[in-house]
């Protein structure tokens, strides 16, 4: 009985590992085949030296950072305020933050294109800078479920009421409390949310493409439609970037386990 269940578990694990590793191995193998007859890193060299790669990756990097900053500024005060003062709003706020998982991104961006077009009250698609702003806001919307849950969970793990009241007694005003007391206590939650946001945003295709911005996702799609070996190299790079962001979450997540023991 005991042994039998272990055999089943190993079988499931081996089959699963094969399913997940073979595509990665195949992609890697293919990315090395650019030079005829021998393995080389030519495809990576070509990709990394492509000015369009650098420009689009840099652009998406900037958008991801702005998304994280705006997201933190929006989510942290809200989650803190709701827990502290308006617990009865928790249900509705949580529901709203989960809506982006219900409403597909393509539908949300479709709505943007209709209500923020150049003839509307708020013509956010009118010029490029404004569209960049709209792209950042759309990414903040996309990342709302991850960011809110990460921040809310870490707020729940610390006694924010006592912390806030203690800071109040010492004469701190609200921005000081948020920045100097609350933020350091939930740093690991914010970082988890931030890296998850980063992983979601960096290669995002649908919204960037429909808003016509020169982001990494549309660039990937374009290269994929026109080149042979470069796409596989890009896929490996994208996988490495995703892996790095998740690795950083693990790193800060484990650091988080240590924090409660501090006096």
């Amino acid at each position: 009985m005991n042994r039998q269940s272990r055999v089943g578990a190993w079988t499931a694990l081996v089959v699963g590992t094969l399913y997940f590793l073979i595509p990665l191995a195949a992609t890697f193998e293919f990315s090395l085949r650019m030079r005829r007859g021998t393995y080389s890193f030519d495809a990576y060299r070509v990709v990394l030296s492509d000015p369009n790669f650098q420009a689009s990756f840099g652009y998406s990097l900037l958008m991801a950072l702005l998304t994280i900053v705006v997201g933190v500024l929006l989510v942290v005060p809200t989650a803190w305020w709701v827990q502290l003062r308006m617990p009865r709003l928790r249900g509705i706020v949580e529901f709203i933050t989960l809506l982006p998982l219900v409403i597909p991104a393509i539908v949300i961006v479709f709505g943007y294109l209709r209500i923020y077009n150049s003839s509307s009250l708020l013509p956010l698609t009118g010029n490029e800078r404004a569209t960049d702003l709209l792209l950042v806001f759309s990414y903040v919307t996309l990342s709302l479920p991850y960011m809110y849950r990460a921040v809310d969970a870490s707020l729940r793990a610390v006694d924010i009421r006592s912390l806030t009241e203690a800071a109040e007694c010492l004469g701190a005003n609200w921005p000081t409390i948020l920045y100097k007391v609350i933020l350091p206590n939930i740093r690991s939650g914010i970082l988890s949310g931030a890296f998850l946001t980063f992983a979601v945003v960096i290669g995002e295709f649908t919204i960037a493409s429909l808003l016509d911005r020169p982001a990494f996702g549309p660039y990937l799609q374009l290269v994929g439609a026109n080149r042979a070996y470069e796409p596989s190299a890009l896929a490996i790079i994208a996988f490495a970037v995703t892996w790095a962001s998740m690795g950083l979450i693990q790193l800060f997540g484990s650091a988080r386990a240590l924090t409660p023991q501090r006096p």
Binding site: W10, T78, P104, A105, F239
Partner: protein
């Protein structure tokens, strides 16, 4: 802007500006007026209204209007044309197949890692990898599967060379229904693992031991103990997986271009170039997607609450 007056009905104070609430002075008093308290959540509700609710509401209303803005249900009647129904049907099939497959294999893998008494390092490794793979969707994933199962993909070539199986002679194509399903599983299975692993943690080892002591078999254990506890999580997660696949665009678009007629790709083409020659029909198409993903998520919530009530 009407947004602020709608989100903070209590905010009737004269001359109060919509500054970020937590920064507002005096708000810390125990007897704060509710107007000040509401200011704290105003930025969030304003943001949600502007970038989530209004855009969606606009499409929902537009779906019930004709080109002149009069109320009509004609858009939904027009949705019943063969091209659109096919698109919904293929989307439904791919989403259902990848959700069921993801749920099955994801649960098995999660069970193996959590309850399978494997070496300790396997569980954290699997969960970390699941975090990565569930986010490895979109264009790069499509590239990976073309390299694997495409016409000159590694698996296709190796099967032909060593096993003498010509994959493409069997009618398989990575651009087809099965190809897309197999590709979607790459992010569906990890997502399932992430959702179900905590639920599996809730299965206490004593339950299994109690079952064994009373002479129960593995079948008895699963039929009468484990599955009744797990099924809301499993069914709920399956519905979430379904909604997840139904709204996906990038993977399918990069994989198949526009050769596979699924509803997100149709909507993408409609947004790009009004291929259905009727803006309001596009809104109806979008509303149809929200209804499907909304039902899937609503079903999940309903199942969960019902199961919780049943256990009490």
């Amino acid at each position: 802007m009407t947004a602020s007056s709608e989100t903070a009905p209590q905010d009737r104070g004269p001359g109060r500006r919509a500054q970020p609430g937590p920064a507002a002075p005096r708000a810390g008093r125990r007897d704060t007026s509710s107007a000040w308290t509401w200011l704290g959540v105003l930025p969030f509700f304003a943001f949600a209204l502007l970038f989530l609710i209004l855009p969606t509401a606009f499409l929902m209303i537009g779906a019930f209007e004709d080109a002149q803005g009069h109320f009509t249900l004609a858009n939904f009647r027009d949705l019943l044309q063969p091209g659109v129904i096919d698109a919904y049907w293929i989307s439904f099939k791919v989403s259902a197949a990848s959700a069921l497959g993801g749920a099955l294999f994801g649960s098995l893998l999660a069970w193996a890692a959590v309850q399978g008494r494997l070496p300790g390092w396997i569980r954290p490794t699997l969960l970390t990898f699941s975090g990565v793979a569930s986010n490895f969707a979109g264009v790069p994933l499509a590239f990976a599967f073309i390299c694997t199962l495409g016409r000159v993909g590694l698996v296709t070539v190796l099967l032909k060379k060593y096993a003498d199986v010509n994959l493409y002679a069997t009618g398989f194509s990575v651009l087809s229904f099965w190809g897309l399903t197999l590709t979607y599983l790459y992010f569906q299975i990890p997502l399932m693992i992430l959702i179900v692993a905590p639920a599996l943690d809730g299965l206490k080892r004593e339950w299994r031991e109690a079952c064994d002591c009373l002479g129960g078999t593995a079948f008895h254990y699963w039929r009468h103990i484990a599955l009744p506890v797990l099924w809301p999580s499993i069914i709920g997660a399956t519905l979430l997986l379904f909604a997840n696949a139904f709204g996906a665009v990038a993977t399918a678009y990069a994989l198949t271009g526009s050769s596979l007629n699924i509803v997100t790709i149709l909507l993408y083409a409609q947004i790009r170039g009004d291929v259905m020659h009727n803006q309001n029909l596009g809104y109806a198409l979008a509303l149809g997607m929200i209804v499907v993903t909304g039902l899937a998520n609503g079903g999940y919530i309903w199942l969960r609450s019902r199961a919780e009530r049943g256990r009490r």
